[in-house]
Amino acid sequence: MSGDREEGAQLNALKRWAIAAGVLLLGRKRRRPLVAEPERLVEAGQPDPRAEWLVLALLLGAACAAAGFIAVYSFNHLEHQTQYLGLALGLAFALLGAALGVIGKRLVDDEEHEEEYPLPRHPEAEEEIAQLVQESGDRFTRKRLLLAGGGTAVGALGAALVVPALSLGPFLDTDPFYETPWRRGRRLVDEAGKPFLLDEIETETFYTAYADRASKEELGSPLVVVRFEPSQLHLPSQRRDWAPGGVVAYSKICTHAGCAVALYRKPTFPPVEPGPALVCPCHYSTFDPTRGGNVIFGPAGRPLPQLPLYVDPSGALRARGNFSGPVGPSWWGVRMRKPSTGPST
């Protein structure tokens, strides 16, 4: 039985092959003249020898400019090397671009063609996909429960995969934001580490000071120090003894966006601007150093923190304690606590 069937199948296959071969042979014969004279896909046009020469010249120019780039690169200690390099490379690209432009405009067919927009949708395929998904779910009887289970599993797994990202930083611990290197007795020093002596501080200018024996690159360290005639100062009453000899010190980090308050509006600013002020160059938050660092203009939302000072027997300025408020840009709840002295210092 099975042998017969196999023989029949083989015969059928042979027949199919024969038909296919016949069709192919006949087809070949009939198509032959077409191969010799195929229908043009691109419209024929007139040659344009002048455009060809132009393209050639532009291509040669591009090659020369590129070679020039290599030459300029090879010379060491050439003055204006960067300029020549840019010029050569830019020129090479420009000439190549021009050559391509001429080709596009004059040497190839640039007739406009029409094309149908693709079908907006394929309703049958859409329907089939929907059906496929629907029927595949037939055997589930507790779909909602399973979906909820799946959602839970994927959600939990996703959370598990995200949790290691918390190693990036102290996510929950915001205490370091309150820390500064200042504490009672810490000396004010300049960039070279030299202490600030009260007698050497002049009015009409401002100084940058740092905490002695602490990193200069932490937000809590840098100060602006300004000296006034004591009669000019109008500090809040509880800060009356924070400014020995009329010297006040504020955090140099702006409470708005964390830039250094690097401008002192006296006497360089025009006389129309009232009074001396500390200005942050980033967004021009302006603070009044005679009134406890209050904001008088610009976007800062709270005063510059003031550092209480005293003068030690050698005449050097020292901190009387920590700042009047947290240093640097604000965050949720920033005013709640006073700054603390960092553990490292």
């Binding site: 300029q83 690209f93 190839v108 966006a257 830039c259 250094a260 160059p281 976007p299 604000s330 005013r335």
Partner: protein
């Protein structure tokens, strides 16, 4: 034409056949390639803006790879001893030193660095102009809304990518920019401080690892993300074909008219690539940008007046400048610090409007259909007017970002400028809305008059008006 010439031509054709066959046998893509070569590009200058962005991205990747071969993303402290005398003996980070070295020591390094920087500025400018074209011609409508969302996302990523790029160098402007970025992160309600602690690894200027994080984001994560979205964007454009203006009777909602990719469009597009490359390398070689050796290394206690970031951050600087001085507090408890308004909420609103535009327009016009034909801006007076208002709003805030420069360069009072801008921020969008809408309606009216006159003239000549 000699016999040898003809034979050579035949040889070339055989080579082409061979290559096509090789590809087809291994990928089966000949039918697809044939279609792709005849894909038609409608011809309009404004359609090139997206291509300019694409080609700037190519230049960015190329020059960027070159820069990574020399740049060291390390905050380790070092003292400069290189060829630029004014910086001798200055304390600086290894990152900054390597950026200075690759500008002065590495041959062609400065060309690549400046070209990279220019390319970033051009890239984002091209994206923005492209987006304006898409917006004002209604090209974001179905079936291209998804393409549009991806484009807006790429703009967002490109802004972040550019910001990270100039932050990495660790010059004075980098540091000031990072301090501002940190403050904006800190100002986010409820979890801002936690977020900043995560990103920076602690209070500003953060742990040394922060530099590795910025570096990997700038040279890998964001470029790969932008590249992927770019591929998806282009795929979707091709899948639904280009939009077109109603230019003749042939351009309809059913039929797209344009130049086939090959042979007509390919040389033009390659010429555009070469032109973009030419302009960027000429700028990179001849026009100085971000001379980091003049800014000097960053230290948190230093700042400089009149400092300006790259142009694409101007709108955020402006917003930060214009907000009056208040934090939202309950008693002595700070809820929302000031930088949140300008640095976070403002861009959030702008991007939310951009993302919501397609669905809002569908909602208000009740227009849910397919659109392949573009509107001229005048055709959709409300959309154009609202778009002009949005643009005016962002643009005036962008200008406010430069008010310190205007003060430093021209001596115009800073405070007076800020007050003028604070008024303009509200007044200008309204004015833009009203004027643009009137303008559009007037143009529509003039179109109608023009058409009527043509009809009347045709009738007078005894010609029958042609059926539309």
């Amino acid at each position: 034409m000699g016999r040898a010439h003809a034979q050579a031509e035949h040889g070339a054709v055989d080579v082409i056949r061979g290559v096509v066959r090789f590809v087809d046998e291994r990928s089966g893509t000949a039918p697809f390639l044939k279609k792709a070569l005849r894909y038609v590009f409608p011809d309009n200058w404004s359609f090139l803006l997206g291509e300019v962005a694409l080609y700037s991205f190519v230049i960015l990747v190329g020059t960027g790879i070159y820069l990574t071969l020399f740049f060291e993303p390390s905050t380790a402290s070092t003292y400069y001893t290189g060829t630029y005398a004014p910086l001798h003996g200055h304390e600086m980070s290894v990152a900054y030193r390597s950026a200075v070295d690759l500008s002065f020591k590495v041959r062609a390094g400065l060309l690549m660095r400046q070209t990279h920087h220019w390319a970033a500025d051009v890239f984002i400018a091209a994206i923005v102009l492209h987006m304006l074209r898409i917006f004002f011609t209604g090209a974001f409508r179905k079936p291209r809304d998804l393409t549009y969302y991806i484009g807006v996302t790429m703009l967002l990523l490109a802004l972040l990518e550019g910001y990270l790029g100039y932050s990495l160098v660790d010059d004075l402007l980098s540091g000031m920019g990072l301090a501002i970025g940190y403050s904006v992160a800190m100002s986010i309600p409820f979890f801002g401080a936690n977020l900043a602690a995560l990103i920076w690894g602690g209070p500003f200027p953060g742990k040394p690892e922060f530099w590795s994080r910025m570096f990997v984001a700038h040279v890998f994560l964001l470029p790969v993300l932008i590249g992927t979205l770019l591929a998806l964007h282009l795929f979707l454009v091709a899948a639904r074909h280009h939009t077109q203006f109603r230019e003749s009777r042939r351009t309809t909602e059913k039929t797209v008219v344009g130049i086939p990719a090959f042979p007509g469009y390919a040389p033009r597009s390659l010429a555009l690539f070469c032109s973009v490359a030419a302009v960027l390398f000429l700028l990179g070689g001849l026009v100085q940008i971000n001379p980091i050796w003049l800014w000097g290394p960053y230290h948190i206690s230093q700042g400089t007046n009149g400092a300006q970031p790259d142009w694409y951050l101007g709108w955020l600087i402006g917003a930060l400048r214009l907000v009056p001085n208040f934090d939202v507090t309950i008693g002595n408890y700070t809820l929302i610090p000031n930088p949140f308004w300008g640095g976070a909420l403002f861009p959030l609103i702008v991007f939310a409007i951009l993302y919501l535009t397609p669905s809002l327009e569908r909602r208000f016009t009740g227009e849910y259909g397919f659109h392949h034909l573009l509107d001229r801006p005048r055709d959709a007076a409300w959309r154009t007017a609202l778009g002009a208002a949005l643009f005016a709003w962002v643009f005036v805030i962008f200008l406010a970002g430069a008010s310190d420069r205007v003060f430093v360069s021209f001596g115009v009072s800073y405070q007076a400028q800020i007050w003028v801008y604070r008024v303009l921020v509200f007044a200008l969008p309204v004015a833009a809305l009203v004027v643009t809408r009137r303008w559009c309606l007037a143009l529509q009216e003039s179109d109608r008059i023009h058409r009527r006159r043509e009809l009347a003239e045709a009738e007078a000549r005894g010609e029958l008006p042609q059926a539309e």
